[in-house]
């Protein structure tokens, strides 16, 4: 077996460790692996071009940018923050857990494209989470704001990933079924999808607990800030 193409992985790892710009690093890795595998340079070039244009749908989020830009200029984030600030019963943990549940259930019905970082997190969930965190600890630092936004994006990702494999007609399940069919094992998509359910529940519980722990950590810090003033 030819182990030389593995050097492409080394290029990636070294590039990321040395914090080079990832774009040229990734292209270098592709050229390294391809050439070491003995693919002719022109064929490799064609492969690169063909694969790039066949995954154009990954850039679909760009179409949300004009809408979000326009709304943000008119104060969308400020309004979302003010609104969440007024809602008494809505804590950070409750907000994120409800979003997680909705996201996971939507993904289970195959609707992964309905929500996501550009569609829902940047314009809505992230500013709302920041406002909810501010209710607990009014003096949020920039690092805290970054962390809250990152947690919002993470919650969105967890909900998506551990919901989508429960749906029978989406990429993951169909890929598993196709692999088994090729190797002479016949399975119905439903038989595969059902077994994603236990981990989906576990993922919901784990992410909820982590969000709740983060909220408690904020509350503790807020307590430390207020305690001297009261005493």
């Amino acid at each position: 077996m030819n182990y030389w193409p593995l050097l492409g992985i080394a290029v990636i790892v070294i590039g990321f460790l040395l914090r080079f710009n990832p774009v040229p690093v990734v292209v270098c890795a592709a050229l390294t692996s391809g050439l070491l595998a003995g693919i002719a340079p022109l064929t490799l070039l064609a492969l690169l071009g063909k694969s790039f244009v066949s995954s154009r749908l990954l850039l679909l989020f760009v179409l949300t940018l004009p809408v979000i830009g326009l709304l943000e200029r008119a104060g969308l984030r400020e309004h979302a923050q003010r609104w969440i600030g007024q809602l008494r019963g809505l804590s950070l943990a409750r907000l994120l857990m409800s979003y997680l549940l909705v996201r996971q259930v939507l993904a289970m019905f195959g609707l992964t494209g309905v929500a996501g970082a550009p569609q829902t997190v940047r314009p809505l969930l992230a500013p709302m989470s920041e406002a909810a965190a501010e209710k607990i600890l009014p003096a949020l630092t920039d690092a805290d704001r970054d962390e809250v936004r990152a947690i919002a994006a993470a919650t969105d990702n967890v909900g998506r990933f551990f919901g989508e494999d429960v749906f029978i007609a989406l990429g993951g399940v169909l890929l598993i079924q196709a692999f088994y069919t090729q190797h002479g094992i016949e399975l119905s998509p439903l038989a595969i999808a059902l077994w994603a359910l236990p981990t989906a529940v576990a993922a919901f519980v784990i992410q909820s607990v982590r969000v709740w722990l983060y909220q408690r950590q904020l509350q503790r810090r807020a307590g430390d800030v207020h305690a001297p003033r009261k005493g």
Binding site: F52, L76, V114
Partner: protein, 322 residues
Amino acid sequence: MLRVEYAYWLIAAFLLYAGLRHLRERQGWRAAFWLLLGLLFASGDEVLAQQAAGNELPSQLAGGGVILLALLAPRLRRVPHAQDVGSKTRRQSALRLGHRLFVPALLIPLVTLLIALLGPHLSIMGYAVFAKPQLTLTGLALACVVALFAASRVTRAPMQDGFFEGRRLLDAIGWATVLPLLLAALGQVFTESGVGNAISGLTSAWLPTGSALACLLGFALGMVIFTVIMGNAFAAFPVMMAGIGLPLLIQQHHANPAILGSMGMLCGYCGTLMTPMAADFNLVPAALLELRSPYGVIRAQLGSALAILAANVMLMYLLVFR
């Protein structure tokens, strides 16, 4: 009939607009980057059609374009994007418009949802309105157009303001926009170069194949590591199944194929949450949310990913050998 290809043309038009604006502002590198990307998007259908017809030249040119993009990318320094409208104006406008601001933002998911659900049944004079492939994503593109009209109405701002603001957000994301596409291309090249087979060869050479638990752990960790490297669980799955899952776990240790397949894939998803190679889920959101560290989202989800992985492997061990 509405196809997802129309969405690519819309993206191309927006990218070309961004490039031309930069050209007028004499920012050569940015202009070149977005114009080139716009051209790749506009010509994509033709490239794929010619490739299918056996003509490799357009694909090779596109490949050259990709390499050129990679050379241009380091020239795009991320600019902390200054809002041209002050925060006071924005707060006043927020007070004036109130909940109406939510309407266009919510239209994006709602219209997408409606099209995903009703789209397959819509037809005009016997012709289907939406093409079946990538229906949800076609819906998302249409939803963005509808939402832009709505946003322009609600804010009473002309639509070109939207393009202007959109371009600024695009610049804030910068080179991270193309990373998901490049990583997808890298995945293809890795597959064609046999990287996957080399890895599964190495793993199975090290594994004590007599122990069912060792095989299961090897399979699960292999899925995670391979996904971390490729950025995509779908690339890892066939390789690890062919290397360890099918010959060792199913045939030798009689694992249940449905459970092994389903939960094995989920091990890979845990890997996706940990890796910068899954740029569209981890790096692009970090850029989109303007986090100072590109790895902020990964850091926030690492703990969840490890805990879910532990739970998943444990469940797998309990269920798969019944």
